[in-house]
Structures are given as structure tokens and as C-alpha cells.
Symmetry: C2
């Protein structure tokens, strides 16, 4: 089976599109900029959701649901916020269709015009803080620790499946606190949750840091982020956590009475990750044969493929396969037994390779004789014969090994592709040569940042949390810098 | 604590609103017709989702995600479908805001007008069948068995929390089949899944049946439904399953090649339940003290409330409580230990009663002496002292008992409020006297149905699946009828 996947070395962007398409993850819809998440892609997203949801609940959050629509006047209440989102708002203006009088078909009924236009939420700070105003009277009502899983719309002109679409799925946490410090702690806690999820579940090492002024969320005091490195040397912002200060509390007049009865504005945070994580997951690990999934997020962790020449063999193999399945399921491993007659084993091998299934077992007549099974790893493509007596334990261990190996590989790649540079020439050379994360001194001004971006398309990904305080000279302006920041070209 | 819940006997409608509000389930948002589902309400919805999702997957379905937007031209492709939804469509016409030139604020940018208006999905048949066209070529591509969890918008003029809102959350299954029979079997299978879920999880008996022509889904050949009876004697349609025939396949030109290579139109079904189930759940079981939740859908199944006079007692009780919690959790029961100092035990008793927590445990100093715990049931309000040695097993058994008792109570209520009538006078008398399900003969015409509706506000809820073939005379027209159908006033 020819998979028709373009090689990464030939055309990275086409390789990505090919994987998304051939592994049945998603496709473009005829509705401009919107995607259809196909069943296999969605089942990976479900694993992401389930595991994040557990982490959110463990840190004290509960889910709720707020309306899809934001009245235009709400969006306008926080100046930076509306400035940031106005250019990409889908606007509902009417609430009815009718038959055209000339019989030409169905038209928008001009009589059903809304008094105030509604925006499809690009994010829900405004709707939620408008609600918090009613929920919060005293310090006893705080903190509020909510999350919602929802769809949002940002009208993007250039879209790419998972990475940038007009409609996307995400979660957005919105919390309210009595003190600045508590809100900052929450912001950092959720950054850490994202970092932990990325590394432990997605097997994707990330740099945690703070955004520069020009890159922060419209309406935030500070935006923190996790940044991952893709195989083409470009960075991908994979999650953000915002300290909102009292900005939205002031915009929506949300105050609480403290223990002395004094009225204070409430402090807020918001934080989110989206279906963009799917793009990160695909690009971080996959290869020219298809998707590579870390076991913790693989909807199918093990596939068993029977190899037989006649019905008798088929039956004997099925019997063995069922025992293996039962044992693996008892260990919490998801297994699929693909005994379809419509496809040859070789076709199936390629298919599950393409879909990134971490472990493939093949069972043939010789295995029955020898009491063995062939175990193939998707990450290393290694194959070995294992005794059926120890196969279950072997596979259980393999899950961890594969998870760790995928992380280590991505970690090694990032290490190779993170360099410190001290001059602008070096900076540009590294960018054009291999890309990656570039650690360099910056004078801290938006002007310099803007000029570097204009000249090289590289942006400051973040000021890392573990930034060393180290005096240096800005690679661009030569002015004083107090520490290195992380630059990269980014998605 | 005065709960401020209106009595059912005084004002049923206000009682419902009070429960929704006081039990922290949902509230109206300032956005017309949209609701905010509050954390406690949402946690019940999550239980509904999780259990239904398992049942969908067990019957071979997988989840996917399709766009929020439906191009106006798609909606128009199936004549009945657009006719049914045109009057309640939220329409997106623009994709950008800008600052008004006169400085008056943010306005919709007239230059950012969409070429074709987009409808916020009221349901997704059209978008999905447009996609199925590309996914289906041959019989090998069938069946397709998909579901999506999503928000939809139907612009309702009169809204009620959970029961009828402009935006609501739901799941919509959309399947495609090679034969009519297979699609009909799927339709009935999902009706049965809904019926089973309603009865086993919601503890709510339902009548399964088929809708009359005038009540069926716009675009369906047949609509099947589950109908439940509320405590005020009104019916509530709680789920529908539609046999679409080839209607959407023809509208979107979706054909498959059969084994002989002959092209045939594909057969379809769709089926859905929504946050309306929350309304059904509340109205079916709750009482004048608040919500009554069946254990299988209760986010908190057991609450433990300590009753103490000093810190020493508090500590000793906490120690016991932690043992009980651990034991119950090991049995898969969700427990909350409410040891807040800010509220008195009596306040907490009322609070969890209001929130419908099935079992309340109270632990006081005398319980420590006697090695007992006070166990209170929400459904019967009975209290008893149970030895701590057997408390866990007792509570595990109680979960089933309460679940069954709630069902039995609702079942008995329905039995009392289902009557056969043979004359129109009797029909009207029952409707005005006590409501309920009325089983009566009908001549099968839409005209009669319409006249009865106009005169009495009662509608045909369904032609029950277990309808007896029995000759009779239509209560309205006196014409021949082949069997009784179920009438009721309905939500």
C-alpha cells in the first residue's frame, strides 16, 4: 500500500496535511475556515479532554456552561479586549429566514433584525464577568473556579486544520479571587498543569514562560504560555494562562466586600488550550510513515493482526488473540483485534502505522507452534518475538517505554535545536539554517521586538520562567539586557 | 433556613423555576433566551452525558465534530427541513467589527458582509449529509454510525430554563445505511437506548411511540419519541429518533454502489436528546423541599455532615467520617464531607435536601459512643440509625433501593394519571380535571388532530409502540379508528 504521504524533508507543510488527511483526523468543511473533526481525530481529542478534565477537577475546578452569544456592547467594555478581537468577529444580525416574495428561495427576513448585534464568542471573559457581577458579593463567594468546554469562533483569513481554524474547540477556565497573589498563584498553577499535561501525556517537552507586552492576551496584565518545538524548527504556542488583574472586574463592576466590609474589585484569571493541541501532537512526533501517538493519548494502544492461510488457522489464532485481548484489557490497555477478511495483513500493518497505534501484534501459524507473538513498536519500528507467557507484562512495560522514548526523542531534538546566540548575524544565520529556539538578549522594548519580527519573522516566544539573570547586550540594539529570552519563528 | 420554594400545589410553574434557581442548576443570561448552566446543574448534565456516551459506544457509534455554521443554501436543500426551521434561525451576516468614524463606539463593519449568510446550526443533518456525500462511494463505506455532542440554536420567543432555550446543548446521532430496513432498525435501536436510559438512569418511565404526521421532524419519514409524564399532568417529549428514509441522501445526492455496482441512494437516521432532559429530571421527581435526584445521576450520592460542640468532637468525627468516605469511595460511591465551620448542621441538612443528594449521613457525639451513624434518605425523608460496622453495605444497598423507589413512585403516578376515554366530553373533562396521558381513539387525520389541539391544547404525544389493534370510533369525528393513541397537554 502506497500511503501517499509527502516526506518531511520534501515539503513539511504538505507532510502535515497528508498525515491529517490520510490518518483520518480531520478535513476542511465547505464552510469557510471550519473543520470537520473525523471520528479517529475526535477520539484522540476525547483522550486529551478526559485527562485535562481530571487535572482541572483535581485542582478544584468545576465545569459550567455560558452562552455562545456575546452582545456587542459587552465585548466593547474592556478596551484592549475589543481592540484585540473586533477584526475577527462573526456577527449575528437576524433571527429568521423567510421565503422570498419573488419565489427565488429562502432569504434573511429583514424584519427580523436584532436590536443589538450578537457576536459568536471568540472567548468568554465578557459574558462570564458580567455573570460574576451577580454571583459575587462578599469574600465568602470567592474564589470562583470554573471551566467550560466549548466551541469558539475567530474569523481567520488563512486557516490550517487544527492549527488555525475559524471555529475551534477548546476549554476556557475563568476564575475570580479576593487577592492579586491568589490570582497570580492560580495563573501559574494552571500554566504548570498545562506543562505537566504536555510533557506527561503528549510526550512533548515545553518551555514555560511569560509573553512580552505585544504578545499578551487582549485584556490581560500578564500572559504565560507553554511553547513547544515542532520538527521543522518552528515553535507552537500550545496553551496560555492569563493573569487578568482587575481589568474585567473594573469593566463589569465586579466588587466584593472583604472581612471588614470594604468593597474591592475582584482579581481574575483565564486559561485555555484548544484543538490546536492536536496539531502540536501530530507535528511533534510523527514521521514519514504516518502518525506517532504517545500511548497515553492513543485511542487504540495495541492492535492485533492475525496472519493465516485457512479457516482452521484463523480460528486457532482468534482464540489466542482473544486471550491476549482479555489480559491486556484487564491491565487497562485498549486493544483492537482486526480480523477483517477484506484486507490483507500487509495493508493492515501500513494502516495502523499510519494511524500511530503504539504497538502492533501479529499472530501467525508459526507463532502458534512456538507459543510466540510478534511485537512491533510504532515509535522505533523495532520488531521482536515474545513468548505468549510473558507477552502481557512485556506490553504493559512497553507502554511506558514508548511513552518515555517519544518524549526523550522530542527532548533531544529540542536540545539540538536550541542555541544561544550573541549577535544579530548569528541570530539570522541560525534562523535560516535550522530554525529552532534561539536564546538571545533583548533590550525589553516593543520597538526592537517589532523590528526583529519584521526583518526575520521571528518573534519572542516567551521570557522563560527559569530565565537566568545575566547581564548582556541586546542582539539588535546593543542596549542593556538583563537576561535571555526565547525567539523562534512560530505557527 | 427558609428555602423560598413555592409549593407545587400553589404554582407548579413557579415551583419549577424556584428549584432550578435555588438548587443552583441554571439561570437566565442577559442574552435573550440563552441560559447559564451553573456548576451543580452542569455536573448533573455531565453524568447524563457520560452514561449516554457509553451506551452510544456500546451500540457501535463514535463521536465526531461538524461545523457550527450551516450555509443558507444547504438548509434550503430539503424542502420540509427548511420550512420547519426557517422561522427560528440565528443568521451570521458579517465577520468583522470596527470603530465607528464618529467615535460613537464599535460597529459592525459594513464592508465585511458575507457573500452567503451562515445559519447557526439548529440541527446538523444538512452539513453532515453534505459531508457524507464525499465519504460514501460503495456499500463498503456503510454503515456510518456517528454522534456529536454540540450546542445548537433555535430562536424561541418564549423560553424556559432547560425546557426551551434559544441555545441548548445536545447530542445528535447521524447514521447512513445501505438498506431501508437497517436504517429503521437503527432508528428503533436508538429509541430503545433512550427509553432504557430514561428508565434506568433517570428513573423516569416513558412511553415509546411514533409521532403523527404533523408532529414529526421536518425532513423525516417517521419520528419516534419517548414521552414522560410530569407531576402537573403535562407530558414532556424527552428524546426523538428519526427515520429519514432517503430524503437527505436525495437532497445532497448521496449514493452508494451496491455489490453489483448499481448506484442507490443512502438511507439515513438521526436522533437526539438535549439539556431538556434536565428539565424532565427535575419535574419528574422533585418535591416541595427541592430537587430529588436518582442516585445514578447524582453528582454527590452521599453527604456526610458532622455535628459537634467542640474541637475534640470535631476531630473524632472527622476521623470516623474519613473511614466511611474511604469505604464508600472504594465501592464506587461519590461522597462529600462537608465540615465547613461557616454553616450550622441544620442549614447544611436543608441545603443538601434542596440539592437532591440521595443520602445524608449525620455523625454526632452520641454516634461515636454508640458506634452508629444517622442515615437519611432524600426520597422518602426517612431517617434511621445504622451501626458503623454495616453502614457501607447498607448505603450501597440503599443506592439501588432509592433508585428503584424513585422509579416506582413515578411509575405509580403515571399509572394513576393514564386513562382510557371513549368520548370527547370525557376527554375534555379529564384534561381539565387532572391532565395526564389520555388513551383515546383517533381517526388518523391531521384535520381532527388539529381541531382537538385548537379546542383543548392537547396534542397526540405518540402512537405507542405497543398499541393494541382494536377497532373503535374517533372521539372527535366518530369515524373508524384502528387503535388508541396517547393524548396530553405537553411542554
Amino acid at each position: 500500500m502506497s500511503k501517499g504521504i509527502t516526506k518531511r524533508s520534501e515539503d513539511y507543510s504538505q507532510w502535515y496535511n497528508d498525515i491529517v488527511k490520510k490518518a483520518d483526523l480531520a478535513e476542511h468543511s465547505p464552510v469557510r475556515g471550519c473543520m470537520i473533526i473525523k471520528p479517529y481525530g475526535y477520539s484522540i481529542w476525547e483522550k486529551i479532554q478526559q485527562n485535562l478534565d481530571i487535572m482541572f477537577k483535581e485542582t478544584g475546578h468545576t465545569n459550567a456552561y455560558f452562552p455562545l452569544f456575546v452582545p456587542k456592547s459587552y465585548l466593547s467594555k474592556e478596551a484592549d479586549h475589543v481592540e484585540g478581537f473586533a477584526k475577527e468577529c462573526a456577527v449575528v444580525t437576524h433571527y429568521r429566514l423567510k421565503n422570498a416574495e419573488d419565489g427565488s428561495g429562502v432569504i434573511v427576513d429583514p424584519e427580523a433584525k436584532l436590536e443589538e448585534e450578537l457576536i459568536i464568542r471568540p472567548t468568554s471573559e465578557t459574558v462570564i464577568w458580567n455573570t460574576y457581577k451577580n454571583w459575587i458579593q462578599s469574600y465568602r463567594d470567592l474564589p470562583i473556579l470554573l471551566n467550560q468546554w466549548a466551541n469558539v469562533v475567530r474569523w481567520e483569513m488563512r486557516t490550517r486544520l487544527f492549527l488555525r481554524t475559524a471555529e475551534f474547540l477548546w476549554q476556557e477556565g475563568h476564575t475570580a479571587h479576593a487577592t492579586s497573589q491568589e490570582a497570580i498563584d492560580e495563573t501559574i498553577q494552571m500554566l504548570d498543569v498545562y506543562g505537566q499535561f504536555a510533557e506527561e501525556f503528549m510526550a512533548m517537552p515545553v518551555i514555560k514562560g511569560k509573553k512580552s507586552e505585544s504578545e499578551k492576551f487582549p485584556g490581560a496584565i500578564d500572559t504565560y504560555c507553554i511553547e513547544a518545538l515542532m520538527q521543522d524548527g518552528k515553535a507552537l504556542q500550545s496553551g496560555t494562562s492569563h493573569f487578568l488583574g482587575q481589568n474585567f472586574a473594573k469593566a463589569f463592576d465586579v466588587k466584593y466586600a472583604d472581612k471588614e466590609g470594604k468593597l474591592e474589585y475582584v482579581w481574575g484569571t483565564s486559561w485555555g488550550v484548544s484543538t490546536r493541541l492536536m496539531g502540536a501532537l501530530i507535528m511533534a512526533h510523527s514521521d514519514d510513515l504516518g502518525l506517532v501517538l504517545p500511548p497515553k493519548l492513543a485511542p487504540i494502544q495495541v492492535v492485533i493482526i492475525p496472519v493465516y492461510r485457512n479457516d482452521e488457522q484463523k480460528e486457532q489464532i482468534a482464540e489466542k488473540a482473544k486471550v491476549i485481548m482479555k489480559d491486556l484489557k484487564a491491565k487497562g490497555i485498549s486493544v483492537k483485534f482486526d480480523d477483517r477478511d477484506t484486507h490483507k495483513p500487509g495493508w493492515k500493518f501500513a494502516e495502523y502505522e499510519l494511524k500511530g497505534v503504539p504497538v502492533r501484534l501479529a499472530l501467525g501459524p508459526r507463532d502458534l507452534e512456538n507459543n510466540t507473538v510478534e511485537v512491533a513498536r510504532r515509535d522505533t519500528l523495532e520488531k521482536e518475538f515474545v513468548s505468549l507467557d510473558t507477552a502481557t507484562d512485556h506490553i504493559v512495560e512497553l507502554m511506558d517505554k514508548i511513552q518515555n522514548n517519544i518524549f526523550d526523542k522530542a527532548h533531544a531534538f529540542r536540545a539540538e535545536n536550541t542555541v544561544e546566540v550573541d549577535t544579530y548575524d548569528e541570530f539570522k544565520a541560525v534562523l535560516d539554517d535550522k530554525g529552532g529556539f534561539i536564546s538571545a538578549h533583548w533590550d525589553g522594548t516593543s520597538e526592537t521586538e517589532e523590528l526583529i519580527k519584521k526583518e526575520t519573522k521571528a518573534t519572542i516566544r516567551c521570557i522563560p520562567m527559569d530565565q537566568k539573570l545575566e547581564e548582556g547586550k541586546c542582539i539588535y540594539s546593543g542596549k542593556l539586557s538583563k537576561g535571555r529570552v526565547i525567539f523562534a519563528r512560530a505557527y
